[in-house]
Structure formats: structure tokens, C-alpha cells
């Protein structure tokens, strides 16, 4: 690598860092329940070495609030909380760092994949800069989602798998990092094995037996490392929890439909084949897959969930669309082996996102961000060298570059100025202010009743000052706390309006009809109200 390349690379990393660290913690406006739960566990472990339930930090699965979290993000968040204190910045920092590392790793993966090409360093740099600014990457780098950090470890494991082509023992590193990725985010246990085996497509000139050996070795190491996870007593309930979300695995509609059609055919033999319920399952699965190739989702408006997207940009910029399609075209025309590897990678990355019913899902398919970046990078380099030679090529390149810059700046403008207000509700805005309000006022009252929802205790624990050795001894019902000293988290009952020395906090739509309630001054939100009974 020449000095110019190193300089450009450092600038790209700098841009990536700035985009991910600037006002980290305040944009997005507030933390979502999963982030707060991670924060509480991190705070607890930082204080006492045990999580909020009193279990040791060294565990393959944390109970959290009953959603069975994987440990790696919480461990990193603990270190971050220890250094920076219990703030939004600290909880989101691991993801931001992972985002910068993603840019770093994409460069090296790119150089490895295109090792035969002379312009591989430029493709690497292009892929890196694409990742640095890509909404799909930037948005998830600024939020505490384990999936994003898991994606980074997956990239690392892919890089090692690619190194293993020349230096076989890297396969073990790949397996170890793959296992680390699974300990960060659940769905990677399906993704890693497929990607590992697919990486052989890129290396092999022909099929050799040593590939089988390496593949088996990698999978065996990977499997062995997952044993603690499988043997955890939380493993079975965690699977049940994940399966309980609405997904295509629920076949009631398909069964009914299939039966109606077969009845119309008077149960003819061919009808049982043509209208087989599993055929409709396949159709549902493919339909969910296809949703992730919707051009609107990719380039125009992104995910409908405002925690996963701003709603004003696709997961890739609109101006990246030509780059993406040129990259796709070049892979089909010239780089077929790389193309097949990327296709397998992307398709398996879409699987966890395609089973549940919320499709398209930008977070569950985050493992595909590398593919998107690589294709755009390849497309950028190819398009540049194609246009450079044409008559008005340089003009077109200039105009196109300006369009891309404009696209990026208008995205940043929207993200920093308009998106925070637009996404307030999605980010549970207001709960921090409620928790702080409760913490301030609780000393003036004998009882505090919090009738908002069953997870407010997490905000109180995070933003309050608590000795976690005591918290760990508190009674958890259904993995949630209903009492913290004088604070009770429950529904209101009739007799509450008579009790003395009581502060009540509630949701305006449920309790507003009762008099004596006022909006909470610091919350800037219509949803939360309080009543003070001295």
C-alpha cells in the first residue's frame, strides 16, 4: 500500500468515527428498552460483578427482563460504563466502535476477495468509504443493538476464513470469532456455518479434500465453543421466547386455506399435491425474502420501523443505486466466484429476517451490510474506470460525485434535525425524564405509584443511584421488579386516590379522566402525568 492509500484509509476511518461518535447518545433521542436493560445489567456488573438478578457475569446467557440476552455486548458495555459512567453514550459506545471496525474490516475483506485484480486496493477503499457513510451502517452504529456488534464479529470471522485459504490454521480463528459472534447475537448461529462453507467457493480452483477437512475442523471448533450456550438452563426458554413472536412458522392460516381449496377439489389426489400447505409455507418464506429486495426499502424509504431507519432514506442511498447495480452486473459478468459467495452470504443473512412477520427488517438482516458495501465499492470502481475513458466521462463523474455528496449531506441534515422529533415515540422518549422525576421526588413522599408499564423499573434503576447488591436481593416476579423500596410499579386501584403522602405517575390516556393529574414538567410529552397527594 502506498502512502496515498494509507492517508485515504485513515481519512475514511476518521469520517466513519465522526459520523458515529458525534452526539452519540443524544441522537437518537433516547434509549429503547433493550438498551436500558443492557445498561442496567452493565451498571450492576460494573458495581458488583453480578447482573441485576444476582447471577455472575460469566454466563452464556443473561436473564435481563425475560428476553434472554446474549452476553458479549453486555460485557463490553460493562467496561464502557465503568469508564464513562451510566450514560447513553456509554451504552451505545460498543456499537459505535463496532461500526468503525466494520469499515476497517470491509476494506481487508474486499482486498482479500478481489486479490487477483490490480485495482483491489481502490475497491477496498471504495467499499470502506461506502460503509462509512451508508445509512444501514451509520444508523445501527449509533444505537445499542447487539445485532450490529454481532455483525462486526461475523465480518471478522469471514476475514479469517478468507485468510485460511493460504494459511489453513486461520480456520480455527474463524471458528472462534464465529462463536464469539453467536454469543453476541442469536441468529448468527445459522449464518456462520453457511458463510464458512461458502468461503471455500472463493478459494478453490477445484474441489480438494483438504477443503473438507478445513470445513469440518472449523465447524467442529465452532460447535464445541457453543456447548456452554446449549447447556445453559436458559437455552430452551430463550428459544421458546423467540419462537413466540409472530412468524411464518405459525401455519393456521395456511392450513385453513389449503383445506378450503382441497374441499373445492373434492379431495382429489392431485389437489393434495397442488395445494399442499407446505407449498404455501414456501411461498410465504419466498415472499418475505422478496420483501428485502423491494427497491423502495433498499433506496428510498427504508424500514418502516423508525428505530431502524429514518424513513427518508433507504438502507442505501438513492445515489448508490447505480453503484449497486453496476457491482451486481460486474459480479455476474467477470467475478462469478465472488458473486456466488456474496449471494450465498446475503441470502443466509436474510434468513433470520425473513421468518418473522415484520418484513423487511433492517436489523435482523444486518449481516448483509458487508455484501451491500462490497457491491457498491466494486460498482464504484468499475463505473469510474468505464466513464473515465468516455467523451464526457469526467463531467458525468463530477456531477455524479456532487449528487452523492448532496445525498449524504441531506441525509445528515435530516438525521440530526428532523429525525429526532419524528422518531420520539419509537424511541420511548420521555421515560428518562419520568425516571429522573421519580428519583427527585421520591424522598418527599411515603409511597410512589408508577402506573405506566411493567418496564419502567429499568429506567429508574438506570438513571437512579442504587446499590445493586440490594437490588439483586429484591423479589423479581416474572423476571421483572414490581417494587423498589418505596416505589411500586403496578396498576392504579380505587383506594389509591385516598392514600396520603403519595406520588402517582401514570399514562395520560389511561388515568387522565381522574382529576388531580397534571403533565410532568420535565417530560415534554403529552403521554405522562402525575398526581401529588401530600
Amino acid at each position: 500500500m502506498k502512502k496515498l492509500h494509507v492517508l485515504i484509509f485513515c481519512m475514511i476511518l476518521l469520517i466513519a468515527a465522526v459520523l458515529r461518535l458525534y452526539k452519540l447518545g443524544s441522537i437518537p433521542v433516547s434509549m429503547y428498552i433493550d438498551e436500558i436493560a443492557i445498561g442496567v445489567d452493565a451498571k450492576s456488573i460494573a458495581q458488583t460483578g453480578r447482573d441485576m438478578h444476582g447471577h455472575s457475569w460469566l454466563t452464556p446467557m443473561f436473564l435481563s427482563y425475560g428476553d434472554y440476552k446474549l452476553p458479549v455486548y453486555i460485557w463490553i458495555a460493562t467496561a464502557s460504563v465503568k469508564i464513562f459512567g451510566a450514560t447513553e453514550f456509554a451504552v451505545r459506545l460498543p456499537s459505535a466502535v463496532a461500526g468503525v471496525l466494520t469499515v476497517f474490516l470491509i476494506y481487508f475483506i474486499s482486498v482479500e476477495l478481489f486479490e487477483k485484480r490490480k485495482d483491489r486496493i481502490w475497491i477496498g477503499l471504495a467499499s470502506a468509504v461506502v460503509t462509512a457513510v451508508l445509512p444501514w451502517s451509520v444508523l445501527f452504529s449509533r444505537t445499542g443493538f447487539e445485532g450490529h456488534v454481532g455483525q462486526m464479529f461475523l465480518l471478522l470471522s469471514i476475514l479469517f476464513a478468507l485468510y485460511a485459504r493460504k494459511r489453513p490454521w486461520f480456520i480455527v480463528c474463524s471458528a472462534v470469532t464465529g462463536a464469539l459472534a453467536v454469543y453476541t447475537y442469536f441468529s448468527i448461529r445459522f449464518v456462520f456455518p453457511v458463510v464458512l462453507l461458502a468461503s471455500f467457493i472463493v478459494s478453490a480452483k477445484k474441489f480438494e479434500s483438504k477443503h473438507i477437512f478445513r470445513g469440518v475442523l472449523g465447524l467442529v471448533v465452532f460447535g464445541l465453543l457453543l456447548i456452554p450456550l446449549v447447556r445453559s438452563p436458559y437455552y430452551a426458554p430463550s428459544n421458546a421466547f423467540r419462537l413466540s413472536a409472530s412468524s411464518i412458522l405459525d401455519n393456521t392460516q395456511r392450513v385453513l386455506y389449503s383445506n378450503v381449496l382441497r374441499a373445492q377439489d373434492r379431495e382429489a389426489w392431485y389437489s393434495r399435491v397442488l395445494h399442499h400447505r407446505e407449498l404455501y409455507f414456501l411461498k410465504d418464506l419466498i415472499t418475505h425474502y422478496a420483501a428485502h429486495f423491494d427497491l423502495s426499502y433498499l433506496f428510498i424509504s427504508g424500514d418502516v420501523n423508525l428505530r431502524h431507519s429514518t424513513g427518508k432514506t433507504g438502507i442505501m442511498f438513492l445515489t448508490f443505486a447505480p453503484l449497486f447495480f453496476v457491482g451486481l452486473y460486474v459480479c455476474t459478468r467477470k467475478e462469478q466466484k465472488v458473486g456466488i459467495f456474496l449471494a450465498v452470504w446475503y441470502l443466509i443473512a436474510l434468513l433470520p429476517a425473513s421468518v418473522p412477520n415484520e418484513v423487511p427488517h433492517a436489523l435482523r438482516s444486518i449481516n448483509g451490510v458487508g455484501v451491500a458495501a462490497l457491491l457498491c465499492g466494486l460498482g464504484a470502481v468499475e463505473l469510474y474506470s468505464f466513464l473515465y475513458k468516455k467523451r464526457f466521462g469526467k463531467v458525468v463523474i463530477g456531477v455524479f460525485a456532487c449528487a452523492i455528496l448532496f445525498n449524504i449531506f441531506s441525509f445528515l441534515h435530516d438525521y440530526t434535525i428532523h429525525y429526532p422529533t419524528r422518531s420520539k415515540k419509537a424511541w420511548s422518549y420521555g421515560k428518562k425524564q419520568i425516571a429522573q422525576f421519580i428519583e427527585e421526588e421520591k424522598t418527599s413522599y411515603d409511597h410512589v405509584i408508577v402506573a405506566t408499564d411493567d418496564s419502567m423499573y429499568l429506567w429508574v434503576l438506570f438513571y437512579g443511584n442504587y446499590d445493586f447488591t440490594k437490588v439483586q436481593r429484591m423479589p423479581f416476579i416474572d423476571n421483572k421488579l414490581q417494587n423498589i423500596n418505596t416505589i411500586n410499579f403496578r396498576r392504579l386501584i380505587e383506594s389509591d386516590s385516598e392514600s396520603k403522602h403519595t406520588l402517582t405517575v401514570g399514562l395520560s390516556d389511561e388515568v387522565y379522566k381522574k382529576d388531580g393529574f397534571y403533565p410532568i414538567p420535565t417530560a415534554h410529552s403529552q403521554d405522562y402525568i402525575y398526581r401529588s397527594q401530600p
Binding site: 377439489d265 415472499t287 422478496a290 427497491l295 423502495s296 433506496f299 428510498i300 422529533t421
Partner: protein
Amino acid sequence: MKYWKLFLIFILLLAAFLRLYKITSIPPSLYWEETALGYDAYSIMQTGKDYHGNILPILALSSFGDYKPSGYFYAIVPFMRVFGLSELAVRLPSAFAGIATVFVVYAIGSALYNKKIGLFAALFYTIQPWSIQLSRVGFETNLATFLLAMGVLLSIKAEKKTWLYVVSALFFGLSAYTYHSERIVAPLFGLVVGVRFLFSYLRSPKKGKPSLGWAVATLFIGIAMLFPILSNLKNPIIAHRAEETSIFSDPTPVLESNALRAEDGNTVVSRVLHHRYVLFGGLMLQQYVKNFSPTFLFLTGDENNRHGTHEFGLLYHVEFFLVAAGLYIVCVRRTFRHMLPVMWVAFSALPVALTVTSPHTLRFASAAPAFALLSALGIVFLSEVFGKIWRKKLILGILAILCIESVVYLHFYFTHYPVLSATDWQYGYKDLFSSLEQLKKPNQKVFVTREQGRPSIYYMFYTKQDPRYVQSQDAVVKKDQQEFLELGRYVFVDNIPPEKGTLVASSPSKMPKNVQPIQTILNPDGSVSWVIWEQQ
């Protein structure tokens, strides 16, 4: 080489069979637009005026106040002379248009590329779910697609015989008089053809220059046909449909634009960045792009039950790979001949981009032949990628898959679809009115509810009302926009006025609990469509 002709004849016979077999019973009944087309055509056939009394409308007929383009009405008239006022006459123009388009697709394919691709394209279009669905219903869009495709074919052939440009312009113009979408697509094609002609004229050597006279005649015809449309852009005769469906009638982007500018403190930059035209542009782009969603094209079609079966998309699943391969070869070759189908598809999605409902099977239908061309390009390209041994096996393999898919689709379409979608086709009106006519006493007033939509036109159609009588009543009766709310002793209501001794036709929910129905009209799946009862 003679085999080509045999194949083509077989394909055309198959196309005819698939579009004509049981055309009046699958789909199970005429929906309200078909009935309106039919009765107005009958009125024009008998009297030269539509049923509101307008003499030989050229641009559009007011129908229900929705100003349908005139083309399809006039197309029905010759069929109605032969088959009388019947469902068959209403659907035949579309069916024949569909069959004819199969031949046009073959002709375009063999003119642009070679006979092999032409035959494949014709075959794909013959069995295409999109084409079958549209050809078996009196959809104006299907006739317009045929006219547009003819225009495209003739403009290709005109490169050798310049006088064909005139006929091509005629067909493009006629298509714009048949369906709203073509009012945008046809002029765009005209522009492209015109620019190409100009370039080829300027580049050709002095002696070999094509005749300018024909070009001038073409221009004249094109403008003459466009002029009535352009000069009536503000008139409801053209504008009504646009207003009803346009995305620009939605105030949301304007409100959003103002909100965004306010958040930015109304700076100059923000007034440009968040200008409502920018927001409308973004909305247009989204609507445009939705028509290319793989789910819409290959898996489920759009939400309307009259536009497709939902069991399949507009194209077969395997065509995803064929179309992708076709697009790939277009990107590799990059000649005008290869770009033409892509351009065709791109133009066809523009009208949909301007409307609120996207994706839309009918408004995008002008692209259906182009997709068949792309699939044909794809299958031929795929077969050539592999060596000679695999070539035949691959083609046979793909054709086998396509055959299986089409059998599954046709089974669903002919067996299940009529039953599942009967209510979407306003099934029941035919039996209803024949029963009402039998049951009603002379001079008895009859109330029919409007729950299933536009009952008056069904009354006129199925009782073969004399158009002259209807025209005489046009100025007198109560109407909702232009839909008749009463005719003769029949009154068409939303809520049934209590009047003793009247006969009522409604859904079971509107019948009082203590009354017994005199007759019940059932849907094919056994559910109740109408009950006829008497008011006490």
C-alpha cells in the same frame, strides 16, 4: 424452417383457447365497469348516442361521471351486432385483443431479434397469468395494450418502409383514446420514434434518405390525434380521472413540507431542500419503483381480486430468472433493439407513478408484452451460456417447469378463482334482476340497495332497457354524479325508505328480523348474495 409456422399456429390456437374457453363464466360475472361499457355500447349501437344522450362521443363517455375513454365502447359495437346485448359481446374485444397481441409479440420479437426469440416471447405471453387475467375480462387496458404493441411493431417495420410510420402513429393515437395510461405512454413512444427517425435521417447518405413526406404526414396525424386530449386537459372529460387518482391531490406532502421548513427555521436552504415539489417527487419515485417489486410481479400481484388470483403473480415464478437473465443480456449488448423492451417497461410504469394506487396491474399492463420479450431474451441467453450438450436440456427443463407452473395456475384460475372471487365480480345481479322481473307485480315499486355497487346499470343491462327511454329519463331522474338512482318503477337506494307493499332487494343484514325472504340469490360458495322480500 417450416416448423416455425406450425409452432406459431399452435401457440395462437392455445392463446385462443385459454382466452375464450368459458369466457362468460370465468370470471363468473360482469363487474360494474364491464356492464357500463356494455350498456353504453348498446345505446350507441341502437341510437348513436350514449345512454345520457350525448351524440357519438369521441374523447370519453361520461358513464358514471368517471369519463371512460371511448375506444372500448366502439370496439364492442360490432360484436354486439352479432351477439346482441350479452356478456360475450362485452368481453370479446378484450379476448381478441389478447390473442392478436400474441401474434404482435411474435412479430416484434422476430423483427428485433430472431424467430426463435419471437416464438418464445409469443409462448410466454400466451400463458402469462397477467395476459390471461386481462384478456378474459372487458378491460379497456387490454385493448389499449394491443393497440400500443401494434404501434411499436409498425414503428419497427417502418425503418424499412417509411409509410408505416403513419399507420404506427394511428395505432398509438387510438391507444390513447382507449385507456388513460396510454395517454402518457403513447406520446413518449412517439417521441422516441421521432427522435430516432431524425437521427437516422441526418446520418443516412444523400441518396438513401427516407421520404420526408411520410414523416410530415405522421407528425400531422400524431398532433391531430393528441390535440383534442391536450386542449381538454382542464376539462373534466380528461381531468376528472386524473384528479380522482392523482398523488398531487393529497395534501400530506404539503403539510409535511411546511413542518420541515418550520423545524429548520424557514431558512432559504430549507425552503429548497424541503420544497413540496421535492416531496412530491420523492412520492412519485416511490410509487414508480413499487411496480418493480418482485413480490408484485412474481409472487402475489396487487391486492385487487379482479386483477389477479393472488395464488400467482403477474408472471410465473421461473420468469424471475428469465427476466433477470434478459436484463443482463440487455446490459451487455446495449443496442437500441435490446433497450427497447426495457424502455417499454420504464414508460409503462410512469402513469402508475402519478397515481395513489401503486403497484397497479391494469395501469401497468401496457408493459406485459415487454416482459414476455425480456423472458424470451433470457431463456435464449441462458441456453447459449452453456455448451451445446446442455443447451437443449436447459431449454426443455425451463419449459417443463413453466408447463408445470402454468398447469397449476390454470387449475387454480378455472376451478378455485371463480368461487373465491365471486363477490368481487358483483356476482348475483343477473339472477337478481331476472327474479325481480318475474316476482314483481305490475306497477309495484322495487327498491334495490346499492350495497354491491351501481345496481342501475345492471338493471338496464339485464332487462335490456330501451336506450331511447333511458336517454329521455337522463335529465329527469335522481342521480349520484352520473349514476342513475331510479328508472321506471325501480329505485336504487342506500337506505330503504319504509313504504308498504314495495319489493326490496338487499343483503340479509338490511332485512328486518320478522320478515321472510321471498327468494334468496346465492354466491357460488353458498353464501347469500341477495335476498328479495316485501315490505309490510
